[in-house]
């Protein structure tokens, strides 16, 4: 593949970022200069703009939830006992941690490493005794 073609691919890969305003400074200037001279990349930009326009229109389109969804959600919220459960953050939420699980892992890890250390120490003592005989 020629260097020019490779550069075109790089530019075309960055077009979504360029349209989103994520490219600035000299990379933006280099891309814009290339787009002025390369008809392939310029038409790719036009196609990309058209697609971005379509996707923006999708963003503005309302998605109607099924009628029964809200009732189901409100019923779940009304179920007794749910809120009384521990306020443990959901996995993947911003805090991300699960304290109970973390303590369990740490305990198991500590026990395992103690066991390994003890076995290594016993092994070393046994080997030292054998050597001294």
């Amino acid at each position: 593949m020629s260097a020019t073609r490779r550069f075109c691919r790089e530019v075309q890969g960055e077009l979504p970022a360029l349209l989103a305003g994520e490219v600035s400074g000299w990379p933006e200037r280099t891309m814009r200069a290339h787009l002025r001279h390369c008809s392939d990349c310029a038409s790719e930009l036009k196609r990309q703009e058209h697609l971005a326009q379509g996707l923006a229109a999708v963003r503005d389109t309302d998605v109607e939830p099924p009628a029964e969804l809200l009732d189901g959600l409100l019923q779940s919220a009304a179920r007794p006992g749910l809120r009384e459960r521990a306020a443990v953050p959901a996995r993947g939420a911003i805090s991300g941690a699960r304290p109970g699980l973390s303590v369990a892992f740490l305990t198991v890890g500590a026990l395992a490493s103690t066991g390994v250390g003890w076995a290594a120490w016993r092994g070393a003592r046994w080997a030292a005794r054998r050597v001294s005989r």
């Binding site: 970022a17 999708v58 963003r59 809200l70 779940s76 306020a87 443990v88 993947g92």
Partner: protein, 188 residues
């Protein structure tokens, strides 16, 4: 996608005030459902995912410290629920059958007149989105529709920014080929 609510409503939920949780759900569920629907491309799964999102919210709203806006937190929980479902899915929807696409376009817009007037491009894009493979669709929905930055998408998906760029580039090429029905581009 607007999922933000009055911080006072969130605090009311945390205090367990009657009706606060219902109000929170009413204010945000359409946004949550819309995101699930676009990520999963399946109305039933989207409804189940929405239920799962609110179960997680109800379990953890007491622990929400307000370091970020509630809407940002809810958005992240929703995306994580959808990504978990997508990872569990074994089927890969890569089909680009024209009949299926036409049906989806017809299904997305209310009527041919409506499509002709305003929603044609949006309807075609929405229909094409549903035909993308899951990985590609997730990137496009998060990046182009939810307007997250490349870095935010990379963090959510657990991949590098370059991987996001490559996936987005390929997904766009596929989307364009579907939207314009350009057979040459599909095979490229």
């Amino acid at each position: 996608m607007v999922m933000d609510v009055d911080p006072e409503l969130v605090r009311a939920c945390q205090r367990g005030e009657p009706g606060a949780l219902d109000a929170l759900i009413r204010a945000t569920y359409t946004g949550v459902y819309a995101l699930c629907r676009r990520m999963l491309a399946d109305p039933e799964e989207a409804a189940d995912a929405t239920q799962e999102v609110y179960l997680r919210v109800m379990r953890s709203v007491l622990g929400f410290r307000g370091d970020a806006a509630f809407g940002t937190w809810l958005h992240r929980v929703t995306v994580n629920v959808c990504l978990t479902i997508l990872r569990k899915r074994s089927k890969a929807r890569t089909s680009t059958l024209p009949e299926e696409y036409d049906e989806l376009v017809a299904d997305t817009a209310a009527s041919p007149e409506d499509r002709a007037v305003s929603g044609d491009l949006a309807a075609r894009c929405e229909a094409a989105l549903r035909l993308l493979p899951e990985e590609a669709r997730a990137v496009v929905v998060l990046r182009d529709i939810e307007d997250l930055s490349t870095k935010e998408v990379a963090d959510l998906l657990g991949v590098s920014e370059n991987v996001v760029k490559v996936r987005l580039c390929r997904a766009h090429a596929k989307l364009r080929s579907l939207v314009t029905n350009d057979a040459e581009e599909v095979t490229a």
